[in-house]
Symmetry: C2
Subunit: 452 residues, 2 copies
């Protein structure tokens, strides 16, 4: 199954574009125009002649050009007819955003569609979905207005989501925080193309560095396990499993028609295949950012460097709770630090640079840890509120991080002044966190992935 044309379509036809700007088909059309998409766009609406200056066709097969991808946004009772029209036009890649199928008990129509697709060798994402977004080609079928839902910049995270809302709101948050994404696919009921097909496609996608997934129910367990094993050998795969309690099972059926299944079985499958299971939406966000940007650590020994004693303590608690290890500074490192630090500084882990720490002290501490073979990961807590930490700390950390010898993760907690410097670090490829506990949990996912 080659899904290239879903992301690299040179021509897209949208079937069911209303004149009404708040209707789904119209929003998709409008977004595609605004997205910067370079291919040809065609629209189908038998009741009008043109919309926004584009000729409206009665039927998709009235279009002379070849159509790489058709997006179907017509009411549910018209979907099958449109599918037949698409087949007549020999369209091989289709997204059906329309809902009203097995998620409300309408299994018959959904099965009829599936059989038709198989018979005619058509690949289809949907039904009951948002479709795809590719930040590199600007293919964008998300029927959410761009002013309400910003699209993130280009980057290495790809997201496969059974829920349109979970995935798309994360895109919107990512855009706000300037996290780069590659591809997003909301696949809804998985009528034909399922989560495993999509994961399989992303394994060899060069723009994808990290695969994130939100799954309610897996269609084919065996296929999922095989694909996941293959995927995690090449890149990290994060999964948020929705429907892990009995109470949410009813909800998954009426959402995407999936059986949520036994949470313990899923947990076992994720472990066995090397998938990192996250337990909150925030974790997808935190972990994927770190996994995308950080080099692999050699082990799980962390050295904490801080200018706030309380932060050192909270971070230590978090390291132990997450089954990670506090590194033990080598004797030669201790010697260097003792010689250069104020006499009241305690040379241990966490290494407290004290409230009067300046940028030079940070530089020496990080450099020393970089050269210490007892240390695998450097966690720098830089509270930028103190007067002697100068703004060139951004350059100092960036230069040390650019050596790519060990992962350096930075925690900066604070308001606007802090945020500006934190953003600069992020722009320079240094992963940062607001809270130490989130940083440590994310480091755990990095260690787990590196150990695989």
């Amino acid at each position: 199954m080659n899904l290239d044309k879903f992301f690299k379509a040179k021509s897209i036809a949208i079937v069911g574009v209303s004149q009404n700007p708040s209707k789904v088909g119209h929003v998709i059309f409008r977004n595609l125009i605004d997205s910067g998409y370079k291919g040809d766009i065609f629209i189908i609406n038998p009741n009008t002649k043109e919309i926004l200056g584009y000729k409206s066709y009665k039927k998709i097969y009235d279009i002379k050009n070849e159509i790489d991808l058709a997006v179907i946004a017509v009411p549910v009772d018209l979907v099958f007819q449109v599918l037949e029209d698409c087949n007549k036009k020999r369209v091989k890649n289709i997204i059906i955003v329309t809902s009203g199928f097995k998620e409300i008990g309408n299994y018959q129509l959904e099965n009829k569609i599936r059989n038709f697709l198989i018979q005619n060798k058509i690949d289809m994402i949907g039904v009951n979905c948002l479709g795809v977004l590719d930040t590199y080609t600007n293919v964008d079928t998300l029927f959410l207005p761009r002013f309400r839902l910003k699209r993130p910049p280009k980057g290495g995270i790809s997201f496969i989501s059974q829920s349109g809302a979970v995935g798309s709101t994360i895109l919107d948050l990512a855009a706000k925080n300037d996290y780069g994404f590659s591809k997003f696919i909301s696949y809804g009921n998985a009528t034909q193309i399922d989560e495993s097909d999509l994961m399989d496609y992303l394994i060899n996608d060069k723009q994808t560095k990290v695969i994130c997934m939100y799954i309610e129910g897996v269609v084919d367990g065996k296929k999922f396990i095989e694909t996941a094993k293959k995927a995690t050998r090449k890149k990290p795969v994060l999964v948020l499993k929705g429907g892990i309690t009995e109470e949410s099972n009813t909800a998954t059926i009426s959402h995407t028609g999936s059986l949520a299944g036994d949470a313990a079985i899923y947990k076992g499958v994720f472990k066995q295949t090397g998938i990192i299971q996250v337990s909150t939406m925030e974790e997808i966000f935190d972990y994927s950012k770190l996994l995308e940007n950080s080099i692999k650590p050699k082990g799980r020994r962390i050295q904490v460097i801080t200018n706030g004693g309380g932060f050192g303590i909270i971070t230590t608690d978090s390291i132990i709770k997450n089954d990670l290890v506090l590194a033990e500074l080598s004797d030669s490192s201790k010697k260097i630090l003792k010689k250069n630090f104020p006499p009241i500084a305690q040379i241990h882990n966490p290494l407290d640079l004290l409230g009067d720490a300046n940028t030079e002290r940070y530089k020496l501490a990080i450099e020393t840890c970089m050269n210490d073979s007892n240390i695998d990961i450097i966690l720098v807590i830089a509270l930028l509120q103190t007067p002697l930490v100068t703004v060139d700390i951004v350059d100092v950390i960036t230069e040390l991080n650019d050596i790519k010898k060990k992962p350096i993760i930075v925690v900066c907690t604070g308001g606007n002044f802090t945020q500006v410097l934190k953003d600069s670090l992020e722009e320079n490829g240094v992963p940062t966190f607001t809270f130490p506990e989130n940083a440590v949990k994310s480091i755990k996912s990095l260690v787990d992935y590196a150990r695989k």
Copy 2:
């Protein structure tokens, strides 16, 4: 012990104000001028005549006016002499920000200071601390420049922190997010005034609605238990305990000279006294905001209302994991909703208003739940990316929340467009969260407090 003068001082003397603007004493002086503090400010530095237009005194007892509060920011070896000077001037309230005492093994000097304070009936916050901030009176002794660390607006959260950094960075974050604070106290080594004294003071402070604490070690266990029991009867008390692992114990000693003690014992004490123990910095933030703004729920039955099916599922999982209960809509509620909602809508919990939900549908759903005695708490997930949710959803939710019949908590996940509406809800007193899991955990703290 009446600590009023620490927060309502009509005159403040700062001992140890350097001409150098990056030195601690100078920063405190400068901040106090800029804070809008209405009282008199005096500075003591024997080596200069004036700083920033203020006369500099040689000794505190050279000042003619009465001094309500003295802030000592001289080097450690001068502290005792200055203390004697303060006593000569009959100053009864002192903050010592200087460090270099028991946290580095200098027990002798710290004990000498304690004995002197007791003998002369002087109340002292410190040593090794940031002192206090009162957003109502603008007393502000935090030696962190105001452009680097913003002060939050007036509000109902007060924060007692053994760590200056943990507390002050939270203030800075709060300022950014526009969360209101009343008082902040960084008390460092607790040489004389300890965490229990401070908690005791806040019990009867009308501006304080929620007491938050970051504690490494408690000075007097029995006193703490008695005070905490008294406090939790009047308002919620949240504690983040630093040093809950063996590994962090060394760090607590070199930080504030405290023994972190056995984590299990602390856990028991918190439970017994009705304190809500949080496990991350983010939780302090989330829980205190909700506890400040929400009315008490009658029980723990939550109705989820959403326009994103996946969010309903994730939220349900989170509710069950947190030992809360999914409410069961009454028959009459079901009847109203069935009659007014599209036929494909499933009337259960979570109540999925579907992707085409408009503001009216939200209004009807929330109103129905408000009148349903099977429901204690209403959790509204409003994904504002969908075209039919109009911006007046802010007014609709605010009006319903203003009735104060049941707690309404709102989750809005997204980027800038979402943030604007989310901020409006917050300004109107509706507690909001970005992630459903954080909302549910915070609701748990509200339920726990209400059940007490």
